[in-house]
């Protein structure tokens, strides 16, 4: 078996080489649903980052006690706890945002990014590595959400973070803030990331050859 990745490797991998959205294609449901504005997308990314970090740390702390057939139950239990805390916190301190995100915050419980990180990294590696992994993946997820949300908000409403960035003469492409806009943006950005990645690996190969 290959040597387990170091904390630094885990962190870097999460950002682009193993980006949860663009490379692993995980957690796409909230990615499509909450990216019609940058503010909502960043709140979502923050919530996921908190849950991912806490779940990875706790899972890693109890990794020696896990039994193979009971591990998924335990992951879900840990994730659900932190998601509920996040949900209550948002309802108490960011009420409007909590209403806007609606069920997508409770749905983080079934977000496959987090359970994937618990399974792949936290249940096998040290607390420090698991923490670095969570930070890397969370950064990657935030970048992915930010890129999609920026495109959609700018083209859809001419604003960014609620501030006007395009001239008011811009005819708002309403479709961009509707669900079809989410699919188109994700598809095009995904294609772009894959294209760059392919060119990069071709260059690397030709240098080696």
């Amino acid at each position: 078996m290959a040597v387990a990745p170091t904390p630094a490797e885990r962190f870097i991998q999460g950002i682009l080489p193993e980006n949860p959205v663009y490379r692993q294609l995980l957690g796409l449901c909230p990615t499509l649903a909450v990216t019609n504005g940058l503010k909502a997308a960043m709140t979502m990314a923050g919530a996921v980052a908190f849950v991912l970090f806490c779940a990875n740390i706790v899972t890693s702390m109890i990794r020696h006690l896990l039994k193979p057939h009971l591990r998924i139950v335990i992951f879900t239990l840990i994730i659900a706890t932190f998601v509920t805390i996040t949900d209550r916190f948002l309802a108490a301190y960011m009420y409007d945002m909590s209403k806007r995100l609606g069920p997508y915050i409770p749905l983080i419980i079934v977000n496959c990014i987090i359970i994937c990180r618990c399974e792949v990294c936290a249940s096998r590696q040290s607390v420090f590595t698991a923490g670095a992994d969570a930070l890397g993946q969370a950064t990657g997820y935030a970048l992915a959400l930010a890129s999609i949300a920026s495109v959609r908000e700018i083209l859809g409403t001419g604003t960014l973070f609620g501030m006007q960035v395009l001239p008011t003469a811009w005819p708002n492409w309403v479709i961009m803030i509707l669900p079809p806009g989410a699919f188109m943006t994700l598809g095009l950005l995904l294609g772009a990331v894959n294209w760059f990645e392919q060119r990069r690996s071709e260059k690397a190969n030709s240098k080696r050859g």
Partner: protein, 223 residues
């Protein structure tokens, strides 16, 4: 030869409950911490909901056009909360009622807070009534966790508007074939259960409160 009886230790090792000790401990611990979080944040969340309710009351009773006019004149409705208990199937049900008056003391209408089971979770909503309780002036959904894209369309203005100006004499009906009668509501495509749940909650609220509210309205007039 008889099979060897497994030792007590061996049996304990295969006991499902014992194997799950970590799950049980974590569940207990997490449950306790969530209870703590709820104790700490619960009142604040309640307050947020009350604030939102109060913000919605004028629009719910008067409609946004009239509210704008009132605000232009520098006036606003005076809102006073009441609690009404209704005896139902041998137990008491409590409703929070908001009585809204014009600045000159004339009754503007009533808003009742109600809740009931939806498709996914509890739905909390507000129902606005005219001063005489004869018509529903509108509804507003405070809290819901219905299916995104289908059931959660119950919060849209377009759908909610159907409840405005419905008479309270007959119960409201949900139809999938296009509303014809004045007391019919179009169901949301793909979310019949959510549509029915909201309508059921509204109907129950009307049924429970028609009596108490009429009495209260008479009381206000009498003053």
């Amino acid at each position: 030869m008889e099979p060897m009886a497994p030792s007590t230790l061996e049996r304990l090792k295969h006991n499902y409950i014992l194997q799950a000790w970590l799950v049980l401990m974590l569940a207990l611990f997490f449950g306790a911490s969530l209870a703590g979080v709820h104790l700490k944040l619960g009142p604040r969340i309640e307050q947020n909901k009350i604030n939102e309710t109060r913000k919605r009351i004028p629009e719910l009773i008067l409609g946004s056009a009239q509210v704008e006019e009132l605000t232009k004149e520098g006036k606003s409705l005076i809102v006073e909360p009441h609690t009404v208990s209704v005896e139902k199937d041998g137990r008491k049900v409590f409703y929070t009622i908001y009585e809204a008056k014009y600045p000159d003391g004339k009754l503007a209408g009533w808003v009742a807070k109600s809740s009931g089971q939806g498709y996914a979770d509890k739905i909390e909503l507000l129902v606005g009534f005219s001063p005489s309780i004869e018509t529903i002036t509108g509804i507003f959904i405070l809290d819901q966790k219905e299916t995104p894209g289908l059931g959660n369309k119950i919060i849209t203005v377009d759908w909610r508007q159907q409840f405005s100006n419905i008479k309270t004499v007959q119960p409201i009906q949900v139809t999938k074939t296009g509303a014809k009668d004045p007391n019919q509501i179009d169901a949301i495509t793909g979310a019949t259960i959510s549509s029915r749940s909201v309508t059921r909650i509204v109907n129950t609220t009307v049924n429970d409160l028609r009596g108490p509210l009429t009495a209260m309205a008479a009381n206000v007039k009498g003053k």
